[in-house]
């Protein structure tokens, strides 16, 4: 056990990240428990939709984090192309994978919410469709890295995709929105603006909890990516 704690020199320079990670590990578990309580018990049942509406407390925070992850992929990709730094590449691919997980959960929960409330599993609504496109781009990103001829080139190519994909997302959103006004379908996702305060509180807690959880998971996954790089470098050095 002492061996494990004594190593990982390459990641030791990010001391404050380690501390943040420990703090987050402490904080997220109780916060998640609180979220469960508030979203399932504390928040009142929605008058029109019934208890199924509670999916909203999970669907939206995971969506937000999925987009946040994609934004991070974009930023990390840009910085990586400028600085060719291993850290930014590790962050990019970690963020892509974590983002894919959160986006998958978002799409599935969206479907499970849509069917009972609006009678359809899928509705081509602009937000869900844009998220689906995002999901495809993430997937393409990870496939590209897997199939690239070398890790170095894979990192570079993926960075290009990360940038182009992100720039495209607002255009995808706009075009699906315009299309939707021309081809109206019966589903309308509610704006959820007029929420009773208990619901708002539950939502805020859930949002906070999932965002902190996301950051914590991202730190771990980035560290994994950094160690993978480190191992590869050393195996090349040692022959």
């Amino acid at each position: 056990m002492a061996q494990i704690t004594a190593t990982v020199q390459s990641t030791r320079s990010y001391g404050w990240v380690d501390k943040l990670s420990q703090v987050l590990a402490f904080v997220t578990l109780p916060l998640m428990a609180l979220t469960l309580y508030m979203t399932l018990i504390y928040a009142p049942t929605d008058a029109t939709q019934g208890d199924v509406q509670r999916i909203f407390y999970y669907h939206v925070p995971t969506a937000w984090n999925g987009f946040l992850a994609f934004f991070l992929v974009f930023v990390a990709s840009v910085v990586y192309l400028f600085k060719s730094s291993r850290f930014w590449d590790a962050l990019a691919r970690a963020s892509a994978e974590v983002g894919l997980v959160f986006t998958t959960i978002m799409i599935i929960t969206g479907s499970l919410w849509g069917k009972p409330v609006w009678g359809t599993w899928w509705s081509w609504d602009p937000r869900m469709t844009t998220t689906l496109i995002l999901w495809f781009i993430y997937l393409g990103y990870l496939m590209l890295r897997a199939y690239a001829p070398s890790k170095q080139q894979g990192a570079r190519y993926a960075a290009v995709l990360g940038i182009v994909g992100f720039v495209d997302v607002p255009i995808v959103y706009m075009s699906t929105k315009w299309w939707r006004t021309l081809h109206p379908q019966q589903v309308v996702e509610p704006g959820q603006v007029s929420m009773p305060p208990e619901m708002l509180q539950a939502f805020m807690v859930s949002l906070l909890a999932f965002t902190l959880l996301f950051i914590w998971i991202l730190i771990i996954r980035t560290r994994i990516a950094l160690i993978e790089d480190e191992l590869e470098i050393r195996s090349i050095e040692n022959g």
């Binding site: 409330v117 993978e228 191992l231």
Partner: protein, 51 residues
């Protein structure tokens, strides 16, 4: 509770999905740290042999 099945399924997807992923990356991190420490021990031995 109406439509409880859907709510339950969504909750399962969220919590199980996240926990499975956390477990997976936790395992991976431990494996990689193990590998890295083995590599470092081997390197230390090599430099000792060279001296």
């Amino acid at each position: 509770m109406d439509n409880f099945g859907f709510l339950f399924a969504a909750l399962l997807v969220v919590w199980i999905g996240i926990f499975v992923y956390i477990y997976y990356i936790g395992q991976k991190l431990n494996d990689l740290r193990q590998q890295l420490s083995e590599v470092e021990i081997r390197e230390n031995q090599n430099t000792k042999d060279d001296q």
